[in-house]
Symmetry: C4
Subunit: 249 residues, 4 copies
């Protein structure tokens, strides 16, 4: 019985060592720091949104329902990407005792699995929501946000397994998927959008927000910033009657 008790003890200590590190760049320290920053940007208001970082096979996830500017390393979930064989039964290596896992988890996993991303950020940015609302205000819903000839577009990579960034004249295209009552049900259409737009680093969710990913935390975060900049700019352009697409030689 001793081994069993020992194993139970191990279960009891819940692999807390996975979220304890003195390194400020450890995912369990980085996620709370990022979330504090995102809260000040209005991206994760009222516990909305989320963030996940992948370190090889280990995936670190912000929990559900926590005030993002108050998050602590011990609030972080950890799972092994290669062991998530049954999408209906998530297995966590480390779970915070009193919290619930984020409904965004399958969407983050899609970015890690299908795009080999190292970090995925989900925001409820109002600019993202407004862009999807403007694209809805037509006979048929438009399923892609397009903008070109804005310098900030150069903040985006050319796409999956491609080197370099988009150019100034390139058109940035971000697919829009329809929202669902349960966030995990977005997974299928998110994966479809990834298939249809293999080079995109982001997917807008109508009346909801945006998912942005990148090979590294640095790339996911800076692409998320650049995209939010473009969404906000697009809303102001709309108010001033300036089109999002232009033909500049």
């Amino acid at each position: 019985m001793a081994p069993v008790e020992s194993s139970q003890e191990s279960a009891h200590d819940n692999n807390d060592h996975l979220v304890k590190s003195d390194d400020s760049q450890h995912p369990a320290n980085l996620i709370p720091e990022l979330c504090r920053k995102f809260w000040t940007l209005g991206w994760v208001t009222g516990t909305g949104g989320g963030t996940s970082i992948r370190d090889n096979d280990l995936v670190y996830l912000a929990p559900s329902g926590v005030q993002k500017e108050l998050m602590k390393p011990e609030d972080i979930y950890v799972l092994e990407l290669s062991k998530q064989t049954d999408p209906k039964k998530r297995v966590y290596l480390r779970s915070p005792p009193t919290l619930k896992p984020s409904q965004c988890t399958p969407l983050f996993i899609a970015a890690f699995t299908k795009r080999n991303a190292g970090c995925c950020i989900h925001t409820h940015s109002q600019w993202a929501v407004l862009v999807t609302l403007l694209l809805e205000s037509r006979p048929l819903n438009t399923n892609v946000f397009e903008i070109n000839n804005i310098e900030q577009i150069k903040g985006f990579g050319k796409g999956y397994q491609k080197l370099g960034n988009l150019g100034y004249h390139d058109t940035l295209r971000i697919p829009v998927i329809e929202n669902t009552p349960h966030e995990e049900d977005l997974t299928e259409s998110l994966e479809e959008a990834m298939d249809k737009y293999p080079d995109t680093y982001a997917v807008l969710v109508r009346r909801h927000g945006v998912y942005v990913w990148g090979e590294t935390v640095h790339k996911a975060k800076t692409q998320c910033e650049s995209l939010d900049y473009l969404f906000q700019l697009a809303i102001e352009m709309k108010k001033l009657g300036i089109p999002w697409l232009s033909d500049i030689p």
Copy 2:
């Protein structure tokens, strides 16, 4: 006479121990911290707005007329909820020597008494005021703000003594009451709105702001954030010609 003197001494020391604690989660520490945050959000500009936390029978209240970002634990009022039998004669267990109690007090008490709330937040958010102004610009004043099919709606509980949160397709309804010259005179219409909308966690006050409550500090604060997000989004939707209610399957 000795006991009387002792009692007077006790009155003289004003129960200051009630607002002294090393625990950052103690209400007398939490209220100033929340108010600092709310000030940066523009919710409590120019000493407007207020916050109250209930811990069992003890109610902790921000005072009137204090710069919210500079509030200190010793500025906090404390009263016993069960002892407030005469609404015209408020009895405080602890009063800061040089301050005045908040005019919001009877409204906070209504949330604690009628809704068993653990925290109530009052903001002068411009987005809240603008929403009430837009609802006024009609032949008859509209007495309810309604919005649906926005993901952030899921940040709200289903209602008093009900489990779970609103769904994406649910319509969030926040009643609007008319403002009065004296804030305490709002109490009756606030209570009427609570009766008419038993599941609401908030009441808008025309040309004034909003009261938001929750079972816990966490819920009141995150619902207040989600609501302010929705008010701001609603104003931007109005500017862009997008209706607040839609019919999405």
Copy 3:
């Protein structure tokens, strides 16, 4: 000669003790702290704006041309109010060695002399400037900003040497004066506006900003916040087609 040398030494040390204090509430400490806060609010961008505090006969002034968020106590000017008999020759008790006095000085002194103010704040807030621009866009310039039936109006005192604050239904009136090429030339029209509106705590300057004062630092600062709130609200109301004055029973 010894006394003279001693006097010169005293001049050389420049009364620096007047701006050295361990008390966070000392004017020489408060002005930099306020200016840091005002910078984050966008009120004193690019060295614009200014702040002055009066402590009995001593007047403490932020200097000209300093980055407001980086101001230090040793940057503060000090003068004696009762000794400023010649408006063309300002005498300073303490001058920072390498800085220039603010052009706002005579306007601050007007608030101290004519209104017995304890603090005067000058901002270049864009909301203030936009309000004056909207009042200009008519056949004749309008020389007063008026708004009523907004709760935040209660953040203003009833007026000079009167007790209590404005009520919700009261109309807040802030006079607007025309800008001049040299800031000190505003003094005369500022004083005229003070005479015409004896109870106002603020004067707008067309295409420039606003001067706000109060009996204490607390009152000047919170009235300045409330006013900026109302200016911003007024601009948003204008965008949404809502009038600033209304007739509510």
Copy 4:
């Protein structure tokens, strides 16, 4: 061979002493501090924008692709201005081991060489971009932003090698150049704009942002703030139907 090895050692240590200083005003400390501030202002979102300081012949440059709010002194490039004789072959005195030099470098050098500037700031401010978009929405592109009769204009110097600042009635003119796919290709048209507008302290880049310089860090930074204030004001004026130029006696 010993001297050579020593020289190689010196090359190996990469002149790191040039970016190590306990003085907060040292360029290698100032640039990261400025960039943190600019990030909060939305000027350098998503690694966009940049900053450079010149100290006599030494030029300190923020690198490419770094999160601006996280920049460290050891990320700074250093070069000698007088040794940049071949514009196609930049020689750095000190290079961070894993970073890339900024594409803005030739534009910063133009400000240092042609205008004797001590600091040059490049932002992607949305207000700057929107101003260039509004000036584009005409039959022919407008190549200058003009505004007058706004107090904040006095935040600008009169021009190259001139004393004093612009007056309230003066028209501030900022030339606009067309964007190019590669940032370094802007150099020629930036220099042309400097020739055509010899007194300007800034050049707008269409659909991209703005370059602002000054004799000192203080002047470049405060002029950049004043200009951004004017761009934001101009956008709000446009929304409210108020012209940027007016005829005020």
